[in-house]
Symmetry: C2
Subunit: 405 residues, 2 copies
C-alpha cells in the first residue's frame, strides 16, 4: 500500500481526496498500486467530514511518518508551502503540487533538493489545471528546440473576454458576472492583471529554455483596459482578443517572454478556446505546432493532474530524470518593446486619413468605425519603431495590441 | 555516450536521423546525454549519404552489438518488424516505434517481453504523429477513468474532407489532389477506408480500457461514399463532416469503439482541425474534456515523437512502469448498431412530409435542399431502432451519419 498525505483541504485538496477515494479501485486495477490517504493537513476543523480522523494540524505528523512517501502540496502560496516542501524533499519524500507560485519562484531549488535526496518534485497541475502540458513538454517534446509557446493560461480572464466578445458585455459587467459565478475572486487583481498567467508562462518558458525564467522579468499586462471597441476592431479583421502568455525564442541567445492581451485570428485554434477553458500552443523545431486544451482550473480537473503525478510516483518510486530547468537561463529576455509582430493600434484623430503615418510604418488595414479615432493594423515591425513613429507624428496612441503571429 | 540504431530509412527514419543529428548538442545540453547513431538498417543502398558507413543490411549487426541500447523501429508493417522487435527486447534492448500496425497487433505481447527483460517498448509516434498523446493518456490522466476518446486520426482523409468542405471539390477530385500533393498514397485504401484510423483508435481504446482492443473488432467505415450533398446537409446544421476514431465507455462492462464519418458541430474544437492536422479529444471522469492537436504525420513531426521516446530512455534506462494494457479487455465491445447518438439520416423520398416518420423517431430538424430526398436530424436514439423504424416505413435510407455528441 502507498500512503500519501494531502496538505491543504481547499478546492484542489478536496478534489484530490475525492479522486483518490473514488478511483482507488480502478487505479489499483490499472497499476497494481493501492493508494491510501493517511493524513490531510489543514489549519481548519472539519468535524463533519466522514474521515475526520485523518485530519491533522501538525505538519510533523506527515514529516516524521516513514510510511508516507508521497505528499500532495495543494496549499498554494509561498508560506508555509516552501518550507514544508523543502523539509519533505530533504527527508526523501516525493512532493507533487499545483502551486504555480512556488514552482515559478523556487522550482529550480526544489528540483535540486529532490534530486539530491532521490525524491521527486512533480508539478503537472501548476499550469493549465488538468491539461497535460508539463510532461508532454518535458518528455514527449524533449528532442525539439521549443521555438514558441502561446497559451490561454487563465480561465477567469478568458471567461470575461468571452462574455465581452460573444455577448457584448462591458468589462465591469463581465467581471461582476465572473465573480457571481465563482470564476473570479473578490479581489480579482491576480487574474485580471495577468499575474497568475505570468507565473504560468514563466514555468513554461523555463521548460522551453531549460533555464529559470523569473516572472519578475516577464512583462505583464492584463485585460482591465480592454474595451468593447477594441473587441470590435479585432472582429473587423476576423479576430478576437485573448490574454496570451507568450514565449518566443529569437535566436540561441535571446527570447521574448510576456503576458498581454493579443489579437488572435479566427483561423488560429486558440481563438475557439472559450469560457473557463485553457489551451497552450507549443511550437517545436521538429514537431511544428501542437496544442493542448482542457479545463484550466476547477476542483476535479486540477486534482486529475495532481493525482496523475501521485500515481506516476507510486508506480515509479525510484529516481526519474527529466530535464526541467537549471537555476540560470542562458537566454537573455529582450525588453518588451523589441517584440516584432503585427500590431492593432488605436489612434486618436479626427483626420481619418493616416497617409502621413503610412509613410513611416507599413499599414495593412485601416478600420474606421468610431468618430475621433481609427484602428490601424500594421505590417510586421518592432514595437519600439512603431511607438517612435507615432510619437513623432501628429497622432496620439490610444492603445497598442500585439497580433499573435 | 548512448548508441542507438535506426531500422528503416524511409520518411520517418530519415527524420529520426535528422532530428538526432541536428539537435544532438541541444539534447546533450538539456539532458547530459550524448546520443549517437551507430547503425541505420535498410535493404536499400545509400551510396551518396554523407554517413554511408553506418548503413547496414544485416539486422544481426544491431542485435549483437552490446553498445546499442536503444533501437528505433520505423520500418512499418508486421514483417520483419515484429520478429526484429521481439529479438531486440529479448536481449534487453529498448525499442521505440512509430509502427501503429505492430503496436495494435502485438503491442501487449511486446510490452510483456520488454518488462520481462527490463527493457522498454515505447510508441508515442504510433498515434497522431508528433502529437503527445500516448504519454499524456497513460501517465498524466492515469488517475481518471477514461470516458470517451474522439480523434481525427488520419491526415489524408482530413485533407480530403477539408477540400470538399471549404472548396466544394468532389471526393474524387480532392483525393486526386491529395495524391498529387503526396498526402495520399497511390493506393489510398488504408487511409480512405478508415483502416489506418482503426489501428490508432484500437491503441487509444486499449490505453483507455487497460485491455487490448483488437482492431478486427472495431467497426470501420471510411469516407469514400461521402458526397458534397452530405457536407451541405451538415453545414445546414452548423456542422462539418470529419472521419472520427471513437471510443466510449458505456458502463463498467461495455464500450463502443468505431471509425466512421461523423457530423461535428462547429462549436466543437475538432471541427476546426483542418488540413493534415490531427487532434484527439479525451474525456476523463476527473479532468473533463482535454484535446491534443498537431501534425499527425510527416517526417519531422513523427520523428519528434520517436526521438522524444529515445531521449526519455537515454535519461532513464532503468525500468519504468507505465500502465498500458493487458492482453485481454474486460469490457465488451457492443455491436455498432447499439450506438446511442443523434444521427443525420438522408432519406429517398418525393414526399417531403416526414410526419409519418416523426411518429416513430424523434426528429429535431428536417433539411430540405434536394429534390427526391430529405435530410433528417434525429434526437438521441439507438441506431438499431432508427434503422428498424425507417425499415418499417415507406421511406428508403440513403445514408446514416452519426452526430458526435
Amino acid at each position: 500500500m502507498v500512503k500519501v498525505a494531502i496538505m491543504g483541504f481547499g478546492t484542489v485538496g478536496s478534489g484530490v481526496y475525492e479522486v483518490l477515494r473514488n478511483n482507488r479501485k480502478s487505479i489499483m486495477t490499472k497499476t497494481g498500486k493501492d493508494i491510501d490517504i493517511k493524513y490531510i493537513l489543514d489549519i481548519r476543523d472539519f468535524p463533519d467530514h466522514p474521515e475526520k480522523d485523518i485530519f491533522t494540524k501538525n505538519f510533523d505528523d506527515i514529516l516524521n511518518d516513514p510510511e508516507v512517501t508521497i505528499v500532495a502540496e495543494v496549499m498554494g502560496g509561498l508560506k508555509p508551502a516552501y518550507d514544508f516542501t523543502k523539509r519533505l524533499l530533504s527527508v526523501g519524500k516525493s512532493v507533487v503540487t499545483s502551486n504555480k507560485e512556488l514552482v515559478a519562484t523556487y522550482g529550480d531549488e526544489l528540483m535540486q533538493i529532490a534530486k539530491a535526496n532521490e525524491a521527486k518534485y512533480l508539478f503537472e497541475a501548476s499550469v493549465g489545471g488538468g491539461i497535460p502540458i508539463i510532461r508532454p513538454m518535458s518528455q514527449c517534446l524533449n528532442a525539439n528546440n521549443i521555438i514558441s509557446v502561446a497559451g490561454i493560461l487563465n480561465g477567469t480572464t478568458n471567461f470575461i473576454l468571452n462574455q465581452m466578445i460573444s455577448k457584448g458585455k462591458a468589462f465591469d459587467v463581465a467581471l461582476k458576472e465572473a465573480q457571481d459565478n465563482g470564476y473570479a475572486e473578490k479581489d480579482p487583481t491576480a487574474d485580471i492583471e495577468g499575474f497568475d498567467a505570468s507565473r504560468k508562462i514563466s514555468i513554461l518558458g523555463s521548460l522551453a529554455t531549460g533555464g529559470k525564467i523569473d516572472y519578475n522579468n516577464v512583462y505583464t499586462k492584463g485585460i482591465s483596459d480592454i474595451t468593447l471597441t477594441d473587441i470590435e476592431y479585432a472582429s473587423k479583421i476576423d479576430s478576437v482578443i485573448k490574454l496570451i502568455g507568450f514565449f518566443k525564442r529569437i535566436d540561441d541567445n535571446k527570447c521574448i517572454v510576456k503576458v498581454s492581451p493579443m489579437v488572435v485570428s479566427n483561423d488560429n485554434l486558440l481563438s475557439g478556446v472559450n469560457g473557463v477553458y485553457n489551451a497552450v500552443m507549443v511550437e517545436g523545431d521538429a514537431v511544428g505546432k501542437t496544442m493542448f486544451y482542457g479545463h484550466g482550473a476547477g476542483k476535479l480537473a486540477t486534482a486529475s493532474a495532481v493525482c496523475g503525478d501521485i500515481v506516476d510516483i507510486a508506480e515509479n518510486p525510484h529516481k526519474h530524470n527529466t530535464s526541467y530547468w537549471e537555476p540560470e537561463c542562458s537566454l537573455q529576455i529582450l525588453p518588451e518593446e523589441e517584440t516584432v509582430a503585427k500590431f492593432l493600434v488605436t489612434i486618436k484623430t479626427t483626420d481619418k486619413n493616416v497617409s502621413s503615418l503610412a509613410a513611416k510604418i507599413g499599414i495593412e488595414e485601416v478600420i474606421d468605425i468610431r468618430p475621433d479615432e481609427v484602428g490601424v493594423l500594421t505590417k510586421e515591425m518592432m514595437k519600439k519603431d512603431l511607438l517612435d513613429a507615432i510619437g513623432n507624428s501628429s497622432f496620439d496612441i490610444i492603445k497598442v495590441i500585439q497580433v499573435l503571429g
